[in-house]
Amino acid sequence: MIAAMVPGAGNPSEYIVHHLTNLAVGQGFWTFHLDTLFFSVVLGLTFFFLFRRVAVRATAGVPGGLQNFVEIMVEFADRQVKDTFHGKSELIAPLALTIFCWVFLWNLMDLVPVDLLPLVSSWFGVPYLRVVPSTDLNATFGLSLTVLLLIVFYSLKVKGPVGYAKEFLTHPFGPYLFPANLLLNIVEMIAKPLSLSLRLFGNLYAGEMIFILIALLPWWIQPALSLPWAIFHILVITLQAFIFMMLTIVYLSMAHEESH
């Protein structure tokens, strides 16, 4: 078993716990998950510099292969935004593109063999390593809370503080049932970032867990299980990135709409 070569591998439960432990420094709230931060920043920069490279050289003439790919991604994000979001905003389309690409790259790390990077890093004295940022709640909540801030920001900008407060109190049951309205709207507001981040986290966490469990099996049965799961996972990681992007667009377009 590969697990035998990996640090922290005594019995299966130790192996699993080891794989689910972040490389952390600090205490309590002031804990930094270095692996999550490192991989998300590296992946973000990968995305940014790849696209920036194309953006700098972008030509209106016949595009090359990489430019074609980048243009397809940009156009894809732009079309999704234009289909759903009817206001005018400089931010939403780039935001959607960034979310899709970044989350996709996070999720893509799930297809790297579970023991590969922890093993390599252990040679350099790194005791723990989780390579998939979307299996860390801090990462997915980082995205969804930022989206929530944008929702609040745009709601205030479009409707004004009074209009937004009025919508909170009078929608959907009318002014006389304002406590129920308030409660419902608060729940809805909390549900948005919660569902966004937990959906992504849950899917990827479960996916990673299955890979870890497969890695515990005898080596000769592993390919028969991990290959189909990995192929299926290609769909999941793309779909989850897409869902995150789509829901962000939908939420922001709802924030832009006048009261329903």
Binding site: T31, T36, A55, P63, E71, V74, E90, N138, G142
Partner: protein, 156 residues
């Protein structure tokens, strides 16, 4: 699962990444795509215009051809008319000339005839005188009978 300061770090990273994308990635790519779209649209419009121009030119060429053909037909008709007129005129002239010639010839014939008649008259008178002399067996004095003879000639 523990939520900690990593969350804030992720939010900052995310915000920066979105900002960078919005500032440095999105505009150039959109600009390039818009430019290409415009270039393609222009090209198509130009092709359309070219086709339209070609149609116009073809119509114009057909018009020119037709009017040239009409002109040519007109010129031909004029030329034919002119030729006919010339022929007619020539004919008329020839006719007149012929008539003139005939008249002149007639006059000349008349003159010759009267001259010949005069000559004949004279010859007949002479012959008559000679015959009368022979008949009378004597010389008739021509001078004495000149008046008689002249009367005779006139009666012939």
């Amino acid at each position: 699962m523990n939520i900690n300061i990593t969350l804030i770090g992720q939010m900052i990273t995310f915000a920066l990444l979105v900002w960078f994308t919005m500032k440095f990635v999105w505009p150039p790519i959109m600009r390039a795509m818009a430019e290409r779209q415009k270039a393609i649209a222009d090209g198509l419009a130009q092709a359309e215009r070219g086709k339209h121009n070609l149609e116009l030119a073809q119509k114009k060429a057909a018009d020119v051809m037709r009017s040239a053909r009409e002109d040519a037909a007109g010129v031909m008709a004029d030329a034919g008319k002119r030729a006919n007129a010339l022929i007619e005129e020539a004919k008329n002239q020839a006719h007149l000339e012929g008539e003139r010639l005939v008249t002149a010839a007639g006059a000349e014939i008349e003159l010759e005839t009267s001259r010949a008649r005069e000559h004949l008259r004279r010859a007949v008178a002479d012959l008559a005188v000679a015959g009368a002399g022979k008949v009378l067996e004597k010389e008739i004095d021509a001078k004495a009978h000149a008046k008689l003879l002249d009367d005779l000639i006139k009666k012939l």
